[in-house]
Assembly symmetry: C2
Homo-oligomer: 333 residues x 2
DNA sequence: GTGAAAGCGCTAACAG
DNA sequence: CTGTTAGCGCTTTCAC
């Protein structure tokens, strides 16, 4: 960034108007006579003038920039959400500052603070943990936040999700009706709100409703190899049907089963609870709880635009419909 | 963004120093007496003062923000590059404004212009097309640019790549030595610099060197279903070995082959030229030209930091080593 | 419909 | 080592 070549002042001088008028033209303010507007626009084009967004931000206290907090960049689940967010952001002319928080070099609240210092107008939060420090920083600076694809037990933050309990119950039912009675659930961090208050309770309720005593909850299973290595344990425990939160983990289990010479879905049914492209290109293809990720991102961003403009939003917690997509990893096709 | 609660002025008043001194403390300027520094820091902590990065940006003409241009958000190839970029950006305290250009709502040069208006200090460019308009805008604003995982035929922009010609030649050789003589290459856009000036010439040279007359170049094959649908044509053309630029396309071909009851690698060998996690989790696993994506991103970002600080860089075009990773889609394991 | 003027919050000479 | 003083480029009352 070097000395700006042409500023609003140059345009004003050349067009023989005041900076104020140029500013009005730039911002589409209707209080400008047609001829004046055209004269100014001609100069803008001739000089190739481009407004300095930083100066605009300082003067107007709006940066038309939103922050995106994502746990990991290389996870298609968040990438698909981000795509929905990005499209709507573009539509409303917002830029996106993205921050992943997987890197432990900086603590989460420092990352967020740096975003806040950049004066973002709003934040979309996809991490499954919202520490008090962070929540307070948002409230203190009055920055609107929308959670996308995740929840928080504070009810104060807007969120866009699906009905995780219902979805999981439906998935468990599917396998149960296929004759699988020794069902399990495989999650990463068991303490996230989605897992702790939704998935795991749904699983336990299902067991209770069907008078099944023995529960199989596998936690801290985060990636492909965790999944791959888990299968021997599943086999030992006699599990014959499993819900796996992350699809790449499910693929790990899938490959492990096949390498062991077993059959999917006969020996083990698998349903993944967050399906990306990976779930559909592996063979056998995975039965999935299909979340409308793109739409969830789009709705979240749209809601954020309203929040940033202090517009009315009807309902701060929206749940979008999901689909239980039967593929080859369950019997009942 | 609302009226900022505490500014540098408040800190100055409370600490009984001038704004300049507070500024020095914030920026780690050594010209401050220890006691003064500590007094100021105490006030900063007590008041929870956070500098306004927008104001800093306007005054200093540096935003500590870089722009990231990516063709699509939901492509793991770019996601893995981005991760390398992000880690180094964090290390040097830069924020990242990400812009995908897949959405045709706005033209590419408008997207870039909006980035430039935000006064980014530099740009990492991953799109495989760099229009003149964009190139000129970069030069005019003096914004340094580094291309990551792609090339441009202007030599003026720094780039981080692998040796595509060498890699492809090696891949073709591998298949040739497996007895495959009817080799093909599958690309998306044939007019990108990487394809037009590197991959395709390498392929043609290989054919010439081995006295093979018939060439099979399939273009505009961009995604999974394009790949899936291509196989019937490959079969018709008697192709027995193929390099596919994008791995998800390769998986499309792979599944199509298997659905046709044919065998991989016996009936067809496949090597993908840009491998992400997808290439390794499908079965049979794909033999790949393994690009060091994370490192490429990291090196590109590191180079950009130097360019932004007008530091010396030795060599503006860096090529990183790749690896030909033999898996199950080729015979010669 | 247009202009003058006062900032937005901070940095960076320049003095001292 | 510290303070004074101009800006950075733009928006936004408030007059006229």
């Amino acid at each position: 960034m070097h000395k700006q070549e042409v500023t609003i002042y140059d345009v004003a001088r050349e067009a023989k108007v005041s900076m104020a008028t140029v500013s009005r033209v730039i911002n589409g303010n209707s209080n400008v006579r047609k001829e004046t507007r055209e004269r100014v626009e001609a100069v803008i084009n001739r000089l190739h003038y481009q407004p300095n967004a930083v100066a605009q931000g300082l003067a107007s206290k709006k940066t038309t920039t939103v922050g995106l907090i994502v746990p990991e960049l290389t996870n298609l689940y968040f990438a698909e959400l981000s795509k929905g967010i990005d499209d709507i952001a573009l539509l409303y002319k917002y830029n996106i500052i993205i921050s992943s928080i997987e890197n432990r070099l900086m603590k989460e609240d420092e990352v967020i603070q740096s975003l806040l210092n950049k004066q973002v107008d709003g934040v979309i939060y996809m991490s499954n943990r919202l520490p008090d420090k962070v929540a307070n920083a948002f409230k203190q600076t009055n920055t609107p936040v929308v959670l996308a694809g995740t929840k928080d037990n504070r009810d104060e933050f807007a969120s866009v999700t699906i009905d995780y309990q219902k979805a999981d119950t439906e998935a468990l039912n599917l396998m149960y009706n296929d004759g699988k009675k020794n069902l399990a659930i495989v999650v990463g961090d068991p303490d996230t709100v989605v897992n702790k208050d939704n998935r795991i309770p749904a699983y336990r309720k299902f067991l209770a409703d069907h008078d099944i005593a023995e529960e199989h909850i596998y936690t801290k299973i985060n990636n492909y190899s965790d999944g791959y290595n888990l299968y021997s344990q599943l086999e030992k425990d006699g599990v014959d049907g499993v819900i796996v939160t992350r699809d790449v983990t499910a693929v790990g289990i899938l490959n492990s089963v096949m390498d062991a010479g077993k059959n999917i879905p006969k020996d083990l049914e698998i349903i993944t609870a967050s399906a990306t492209q990976i779930a559909s290109v592996v063979r056998p293809a995975l039965t999935t709880i299909k979340q409308p990720l793109y739409d969830m991102g789009a709705v979240a961003m749209r809601m954020l635009t309203k929040l940033m403009n202090n517009e009315e939003v009807d309902g701060i917690h929206v749940q979008l419909p999901y689909e239980l997509l039967k593929k080859q990893s369950t019997l009942n096709q």
